[in-house]
C-alpha cells in the first residue's frame, strides 16, 4: 500500500513537473514569438512616424525660406532611438524578461512620440490602448504594469508642468492624471482578466499534454514490454518448432535406419514400435511384432529371466543396460546382437527402447583378427627362434674356425701358409660381422633392440676407434686425423659400445671408399641455450663421393651407392643402415653431404645427456689408445696358472679349442660333455674340498642344458663363479643367463684374450674371497 502511494505520489510529482515544464516552454515560446512580432511592428511604427512627420510637418518656414521641420528629425532620430534598442533586444535576446519590458516602455514612448508628431490629435491617443492590447499578447500582466507606469509617469510629469499639452486645457485638476490613468487601468484590468484566463487555459493544455505524454509513455512501455514478451514467445515457438522438425526428421531417419530399434511396453512387454531395419532383419511384420515380446525373439531368455534382466531399469537402480545376446529370426536363424536398453516415455506410457546392433560381422572380423594375430605372433616367434638358432648354429662352428685359425697362426712358419690362414681368419671375421649386423638389424626392426646408458668418455671412444682404424688407413696409404673444435665433455651419458660401433662403421666406410688423401674425424660440442647438448662428429673423407641421387639410398639395408653388379667395393650394405638407426636410438641424427669425386662428410650427432657438473676439455687432442693388447694377451698367456677350470661343453671342436686356449694360459681344464656331467663333477669336487675355481658353462647342451645345471648348482649352494658360454648373442640371452645364476656371460666365437681375462678375473676374485673366509 505504502509503495503504491509512494509510486502514485512520484507519478503526480512527475506529472506536475512535466506540466510546469510544458507551460514554461509554451510561455517562453509565446514570449519569443511576441518579441519578434513587436520587433517588426516597432520598425513599422518608426517608419510610420517618419512618414507622418514628413507628411504633416515636412518643413518649418521663415517667410520665403524653409528648412526641415524639427518633427522630421525627431521622428528619425528620437524614433530611431526609441525603436532601436528594443528591436535589438528582441532579435538578440528574445524571450527574456527585460526584452519584453523594454518593448513595453518603448511602445508607450512611441505612443508619446506619435502624439507629439500628430500635433496632439486625440485619435493618436488610441495608439496607447492598441499597444496595451498588443502587449497583452505576452500573457504577462507585469508587462502591462510597466507600460501603465510609463503612461502614468508621462501624464503626471507633463500634467504637472504643461497640463495643456496632455489634457488640452489650460488648467486641470490633479485628478485628471488619475482620470486619464484610470482609463488605462481599466483596460489593464480587462486585459489582466483575459491574460489570466489565457494562462489558465495554457496551464490546462500543458497539464493535458503532460498527462497525454505520460499516458503515451506508459502505453509505449507496456507495448514495448508486451512486444518483448511476444518476441520471446515467438522465438521460443520457433525454436520449439525447429526442435520438433529436427526430432521429426531425426525420427524418420531412425525409423528408416538399418540399425535396429525396438520399442516395447514397460509393463506388458509387447512391442509398440519397431523400425524398418529391425523388421527387415528379424523378418516379422509390425502386426506380428505387436503380439510378441522380446522373449519371443531371444532363444536364450525366458519370461522370468528377462523380467529379472530389466528389473534394474524398472526400479531405477540403473538407467541403461548393455546386453550381448542372440536374436532369432522368423526363419529360425540366430544372430548375435549387442543391445543398448534404456527406459523412456512414449506419449504417456513408459516404454523400453532397445537399440540393437547385429554384431555377426563384427564377431567374424574379430575372430579373423584374432587368428591373424596369433599367426603373426607365431611367425614372429619362429623368426626369433630361427635367428637365435641360426646365430647359435653359425657361431658354434665359427668358434672352432676362428679359434683354430688363431692356433694355427701361432704354429705355422711358412709365409704362404700364414697368408692363407690370415685369409681364412679375415673371411671368418667378415662372416661373423655380417651375422652380427643381421642380428642387429633384426633386433632393431623387431623393436627388441636394447641400449645401455652409462657414463663414458667420448675422447677415449674416438681414440679407440681411430687407433683401431688407423691400421686399415695406413695400409691404404691414407692419413687418419682426429680434430676437436672447441671444448668437449670429459664424460657423457650414452651407450659406448654402440657409439663405438657407429664410428667403426662410418670411419671404416670412409677408409674403404677413399683411395688417396685422408680421413678426418672432427668432433665438437653443440651446447645451445635451451636445447639438449649434443656431441657432433664429422667423418670427412676425400673419397669417391656419392651421387646426389643415391645419398638417401645408402641408408637402405643391403644397398650401396654403386648398386651395379660390377661394383668395385664389397660389403653387405648394412653398416650405414644400422648406424643411422643406432644414431637415432642415441638421440641424434645422421646426415651425409657429398661431392662426387671429391669426398663425403658423414655427420653424426648423439645426445650427451646432462652436462651439469661435467668438466669440459678445452684444446683436446687425440688420446693415446691402449694398444698394448698384445702385451696384455701375452701377459694373459700365463695368467691362469694353478687354476682348475671345469669346461661344460658338448661340441668336441669347441672342447678342444677352449681347453687348448685355457691350458695354454696355464689352467687345468676338466671337461664335461653335458650339463649333468658338469653338475656332478662340480658337486663332487666341491664336496671333496677341491672345487673348481671357475666353471665355463655352455648353455645349450644335451641331457641337461647349462641353464638347468647352473640353477641346480646354485640351489645346492654352489657359490663359486660360473661363466655362461653360449653362441646365443641376443641381449635377452645374456639376461637369461644372469637370471639363472651365472656370474657373467661370453659369446662364441670366443675372443681368446677376452676369455682368458674374464676367467682370470673371476678366478682371482674367488681366490681372494676364499682366503678371506
Amino acid at each position: 500500500m505504502n509503495s503504491t502511494i509512494t509510486r502514485s505520489g512520484a507519478l503526480n510529482n512527475d506529472l506536475s513537473k512535466r506540466s510546469d515544464d510544458l507551460l514554461q516552454s509554451s510561455r517562453s515560446s509565446i514570449y519569443q514569438r511576441t518579441d519578434r512580432l513587436f520587433a517588426r511592428l516597432m520598425v513599422l511604427q518608426w517608419i510610420a512616424g517618419i512618414i507622418t512627420a514628413v507628411w504633416i510637418s515636412p518643413k518649418t518656414w521663415a517667410g520665403a525660406y524653409s528648412e526641415t521641420h524639427f518633427h522630421v528629425w525627431a521622428a528619425v532620430i528620437l524614433g530611431g532611438v526609441i525603436t532601436g534598442f528594443p528591436v535589438c533586444l528582441a532579435l538578440t535576446r528574445p524571450g527574456t524578461t527585460i526584452t519584453r519590458h523594454v518593448i513595453a516602455i518603448s511602445q508607450m514612448l512611441t505612443s508619446a512620440l506619435l502624439i507629439h508628431l500628430s500635433g496632439g490629435r486625440i485619435e493618436t491617443h488610441f495608439h496607447i490602448f492598441a499597444s496595451l492590447a498588443f502587449l497583452a499578447s505576452y500573457r504577462d500582466w507585469r508587462v502591462l504594469v510597466t507600460a501603465t507606469i510609463v503612461v502614468a509617469a508621462d501624464h503626471f510629469i507633463r500634467g504637472f508642468f504643461n497640463p495643456q499639452s496632455v489634457f488640452g486645457v489650460l488648467t486641470s485638476s490633479s485628478w485628471r492624471v488619475f482620470e486619464h490613468s484610470a482609463w488605462v487601468v481599466l483596460e489593464d484590468i480587462i486585459l489582466f482578466i483575459t491574460i489570466r484566463q489565457s494562462v489558465n487555459e495554457m496551464r490546462l493544455v500543458a497539464q493535458h499534454r503532460a498527462s497525454l505524454e505520460q499516458t503515451n509513455k506508459t502505453v509505449e512501455s507496456v507495448v514495448k514490454a508486451r512486444t518483448h514478451e511476444l518476441e520471446q514467445q515467438a522465438r521460443e515457438l520457433l525454436k520449439a518448432k525447429q526442435t520438433a522438425e529436427q526430432l521429426s526428421a531425426f525420427g524418420d531417419i531412425l525409423d528408416q535406419s538399418l540399425n535396429e530399434i525396438f520399442i516395447f511396453d514397460a509393463e506388458s512387454l509387447y512391442f509398440v514400435h519397431v523400425n524398418q531395419g529391425a523388421k527387415e532383419n528379424i523378418g516379422y511384420s509390425m502386426e506380428e511384432l505387436r503380439r510378441m515380446t522380446p522373449v519371443d525373439i531371444k532363444p536364450t531368455q525366458t519370461a522370468a529371466s528377462f523380467a529379472k534382466l530389466v528389473a534394474p531399469l524398472l526400479d531405477g537402480t540403473q538407467s541403461v543396460l548393455e546386453i550381448t545376446t542372440v536374436h532369432r529370426r522368423k526363419d529360425g536363424s540366430d544372430y548375435p546382437v549387442q543391445i543398448h536398453l534404456e527406459r523412456s516415455v512414449l506419449g504417456e506410457r513408459f516404454v523400453f527402447v532397445a537399440m540393437v546392433l547385429d554384431i555377426t560381422e563384427r564377431q567374424r572380423i574379430e575372430t579373423e583378427l584374432r587368428v591373424s594375430r596369433e599367426r603373426a605372433v607365431a611367425a614372429d616367434r619362429s623368426k626369433s627362434e630361427f635367428l637365435a638358432n641360426m646365430s647359435h648354429e653359425i657361431r658354434t662352428p665359427m668358434t672352432a674356425i676362428l679359434g683354430f685359425t688363431d692356433i694355427l697362426l701361432n704354429n705355422v712358419e711358412r709365409p704362404e701358409n700364414i697368408d692363407a690362414i690370415r685369409t681364412v681368419k679375415a673371411n671368418g671375421e667378415y662372416l661373423l660381422e655380417i651375422i652380427n649386423d643381421i642380428l642387429d638389424l633384426s633386433k632393431i626392426e623387431a623393436g627388441k633392440f636394447e641400449l645401455e646408458q652409462m657414463e663414458c668418455c667420448p675422447q677415449g671412444i674416438i681414440a679407440d676407434v681411430a687407433s683401431l682404424m688407423r691400421v686399415r688407413a695406413t695400409a691404404k696409404g691414407l692419413a687418419l686425423n682426429v680434430q676437436y673444435e672447441g671444448p668437449i665433455p670429459e664424460t657423457m651419458q650414452s651407450d659406448p659400445t654402440r657409439l663405438r660401433q657407429i664410428l667403426i662403421n662410418v670411419v671404416g666406410n670412409a677408409i674403404k671408399f677413399t683411395e688417396t688423401g685422408s680421413v678426418r674425424i672432427v668432433t665438437r660440442l653443440w651446447n645451445k641455450m635451451g636445447e639438449e647438448p649434443k656431441l657432433h662428429i664429422d667423418v670427412i673423407d676425400t673419397g669417391i663421393g656419392i651421387p646426389s641421387g643415391r645419398i638417401e639410398q645408402i641408408f637402405d639395408p643391403f644397398t650401396q651407392a654403386d648398386g651395379t653388379t660390377t661394383r668395385k667395393f664389397g660389403g653387405a650394405g648394412l653398416g650405414l643402415s644400422i648406424s643411422k638407426r643406432l644414431v637415432n636410438f642415441l638421440g641424434g641424427e645422421f646426415s651425409v653431404s657429398s661431392t662426387l669425386g671429391k669426398g663425403s662428410t658423414f655427420s653424426i650427432t648423439v645426445s650427451t645427456g646432462s652436462l651439469d657438473n661435467v668438466n669440459l676439455i678445452h684444446g683436446a687432442v687425440e688420446a693415446v689408445a691402449n694398444n698394448a693388447v698384445a702385451e696384455i694377451a701375452d701377459a694373459a698367456e700365463s695368467s691362469l696358472h694353478n687354476y682348475r677350470i671345469l669346461l661344460a661343453e658338448d661340441g668336441p671342436d669347441n672342447q678342444r679349442l677352449i681347453s687348448f686356449v685355457l691350458k695354454k694360459a696355464g689352467a687345468a681344464v676338466v671337461l664335461a660333455d653335458n650339463g649333468q656331467i658338469g653338475f656332478d663333477l662340480a658337486t663332487t669336487a666341491n664336496s671333496e674340498g677341491h672345487p673348481f675355481d671357475v666353471i665355463l658353462m655352455d648353455m645349450q647342451m644335451p641331457v641337461l642344458d647349462g641353464y638347468e645345471a647352473t640353477r641346480r648348482l646354485r640351489e645346492d649352494g654352489y657359490t663359486l663363479p660360473i661363466i655362461a658360454l653360449t653362441a646365443h648373442a641376443m641381449a635377452s640371452d645374456r639376461q637369461k643367463c644372469l637370471d639363472t645364476g651365472c656370474d657373467d656371460y661370453t659369446t662364441k666365437p670366443i675372443d681368446r684374450r677376452k676369455l682368458i681375462e674374464l676367467v682370470a678375473s673371476y678366478a682371482k676374485k674367488a681366490e681372494v674371497e676364499a682366503a678371506v673366509w
Binding site: W61, A74, L78, N162, L170
Partner: protein
Amino acid sequence: MCTFFAQKTASSGDEQMKLLHHLKTRWLVLPTLTLVWLGMVGIGLSWMWKYEATPGVVTAAQMQWPDDSQIERNPDCPTLVVFAHPHCPCTRATIGELAMVVDHCPERVAVRVLFFKPPGFSAGWEKTDIWSSAGAIPGAKVVCDVNGTEAKRFRATTSGHSLLYHQDGQLLFSGGITGSRGHSGDNAGRSAIESFVMNGQSNQQQQTFVFGCALLEKEVACGTECQR
C-alpha cells in the same frame, strides 16, 4: 601534494571569481544599457517639449487699425485679423482654434485671414490645406498678403499671430490662439478673444505668445523691436 591542492584551489577560486564577475557584468550590462536608452529618450522628448513650448518672435502690434491697410474693418463688430503662413504646420492648430472662436461667437466677430505670399512665388503657392480650412470657416475672409505688406503694417511677424480690433479700430488683443506649437485645445488667446467678443471686455491677458513659423524673414521681423 599540498602545493598542488593549494594551486588547484587558487585556480578554482580564480575561475569562480571570473565566473561571478562575468555574471555580474552580464546582469549589469542590460539594465545599464536600458537606463542609458531611457536617458537618451528622455533627453529627446525634453527637446521636443522645449521646441513645442518655444514661441515665435512677437513685435508690438499696431494699437490702432492702420489707415493704409487694404483690409476691410467691420464697423459693427470686432474684427479679428489672423496672419498665417500657408505652409506652417503649426498654423493648422491656429485655424482650428479660429474655427472654434467663430463657432463660439457666431456673427459677432469679423474674421480676416491673411496668408503670406512671398513675391515671385508661383500662383497658387499659398492655396494649401490651411488656406482651404480657413476658407471653410463661416464668415471668414481669406486673402493673400503678397510680400507680407499687411503683416508689416500690423507688425505681425509670426504665423498664427491674431489681432482683435474694436469696431472703432482700437486694438483689443494681440497674440497666438494656441497653447503651444501645433497643439489645439484650450488656450489663453482664444479665451481672451471670445471674452472680448462676447462680453466686450476680458479679464484674460490681452497679449499671448504666438507659436508658429516666422511670417517674414528674420531681418525684416527683427528690424526694430523684437520681443520673444
